[in-house]
Amino acid sequence: MRPLVLKIYTAMILLLGLASFALWAGMTPMTRLDLVLAAPSWAHPFGTDSLGRDLLVRVLQGLFLSWAVGLTAAVVSLAIGTVLGFWAGYVKGAVDSTLMRLMEIMSSVPQLVFVTLLVLFFRPWAEVNSLSRVLFLALAIALVHWMTFARLTRTLVLQVSNEPFIEGALAIGATPLRIFWTHVRPHVWPLLRQGFFANLPSFLLFEGFLSFLGFGLQPPDVSLGTLLQEGWKSFSVAPHLLLAPGLVLFATLFYFQLAFAPNEETQGRLGVNRGRREDLA
């Protein structure tokens, strides 16, 4: 795609993000029982829902919460994955094989089991307010998804760790932390960053998947997942309830597909498109 078009698209997505934040922070759409399930019109571009609330506002709010969950989960799992991956690749031996076994166990189950357990486990702390619910859901998602990043970091660290400059740094007494930050990080980061952006949509999707099935956020919290579930349950009466959040989700994912899809060379190494999470939702 041409760079200019992509830039315009980026600007649009950013604007949408800002708008959705503003709406999430400041606005609750009014309940208007005279406007229940109204079809899209100029006053309400996406129509209204079963309580007469403006759907555009709700979709933007949902977009924001979905983003909040997805982005937090991605950042946390990147952090966990990098630390564990570096630990495994750097220390090797028993630590490495234990971590590898753990990863194998965690990736041979439908992740829904672990997520559900974690959500139940976090419930006492999560049920404070909307923010805490989002944070703990993101944490639960991150705790089952760090394997992609750990595997990637480990492979990259293993490649670097035998280089003479690491040996040299060790010889003059550098601590593991220093070796990681000044010597390993520059080699690992470029690919890791690509992996992060390439995997970001799947975190967003996983939130939608969870909320859709009833394991993630639930009303009164609005996310794209809960909105889609609402739309699915009522498409026979009001299809715009399904189309509005669906098209917004599609536009967001399409943007990521265009802007951050890994190129041919790195695709295999990033662990993207290997099935599993990506195909789940």
């Binding site: 189950v109 089991v113 939608g208 399904l242 669906g246 195909d279």
Partner: protein
């Protein structure tokens, strides 16, 4: 190769044991027992129920008992469905899920082959085909499923809205299960084929005037196939969990449906049994795919 497979099998068994143990401990000591949500359960009845299902047995003893039962093929009794053994629930759901996943897998492989080779077969089609795959990759089943249900089953009434056992009613669920995996597969294949086209033997053949179609089908595809086969276990895993969503959408009473229900009902024995069952399938798939991969390309060394 035989030795390798035996080693794989042993680590697989070890993984399964670890999985069962971790989940057993988690499920046992996590808050939210199966009888906690019951509205008005008199304490003595609750105690009776708990005794019947061995809820209060000492941890290690229960653990040993669970494994000895599992090794005999008995996953315990469901805590939600009255008097239904977990094995029975699995057996009853397995047929639907197997039919769905297997036809989904075949459809995904066939359509993946189509999406992957289409951009290379004709110049005219290459750009539209790639654009279509970009669009398809950003269409989540979460949206596509309800959308197609609305359009094809409700609005235009092409397909029946409920799966009633006829082959025709399975078309849409299978399509939904296969759609995204086939897109990812097609993309993998497309990328691989692009690499192969730059290799000397292909360029030589091209210079000698070989027909493009023959170039792809006869010469390039053979070398691209290992990538394709290598992604099958991940794909199978994805299909199993992907059937979860589709089974919910079409209310098909398969394993995925039972699985979500068991988690929603806090039916831990059923959830544990299903998880172990999924684990066996996934690890089995992985081993078979590795064996096929080694058979296809003896140079491959998998650690």
């Amino acid at each position: 190769m035989g030795r390798y497979l035996i080693r794989r099998l042993l680590t697989g068994l070890f993984t399964l044991w670890g999985l069962g143990t971790v989940l057993f401990v988690l499920l046992r000591y996590f808050p939210g027992g199966p009888f906690d949500d019951e509205v008005a359960l008199r304490p003595e009845i609750r105690a009776l129920l708990e005794e019947k299902y061995h809820i209060h047995e000492a941890g290690f003893q229960a653990y040993l008992r669970y494994w000895s039962q599992v090794l005999q093929g008995d996953f315990g009794t469901s805590l939600h469905y009255a008097e239904q053994s977990v094995s029975r629930v699995i057996a009853s759901g397995f047929q639907a899920t197997l039919a769905l996943s297997l036809s989904g897998l075949i459809a995904a492989l066939v359509f993946g082959l189509l999406w992957g080779t289409l951009p290379h077969l004709s110049y005219l089609w290459s750009r539209p085909a790639r654009a279509f795959s970009q669009l398809g990759l950003s269409l989540p089943t979460l949206f596509l499923g309800p959308l197609l249900l609305w359009l094809l089953c409700f609005r235009f009434e092409v397909f029946p809205i409920r799966v009633d056992g006829s082959v025709f009613s399975y078309v849409l669920p299978v399509f939904l299960i296969a759609f995204r995996p086939s897109m990812t597969l097609g993309r993998l294949l497309d990328v691989r084929l692009r690499h192969i086209r730059r290799e000397d033997y292909i360029r030589t053949l091209e210079a000698l005037g070989s027909h493009p179609r023959r170039l792809i089908w006869r010469w390039s595809l053979k070398n691209a196939l290992p990538v394709y086969v290598g992604s099958v276990p991940g794909l199978a895993a994805g299909l199993l969990s992907g059937s979860l969503l589709v089974e919910t959408l079409f209310s098909i009473q398969g394993l995925g449906f039972q699985f979500t229900q068991s988690l929603l009902n806090r039916d831990w024995t059923l959830a544990l049994g299903l998880t172990l069952f999924f684990g066996v399938l996934l690890i089995g798939f992985q081993i078979v795919a590795d064996a096929v991969l080694m058979w296809l390309d003896p140079r491959v060394k998998i650690q």
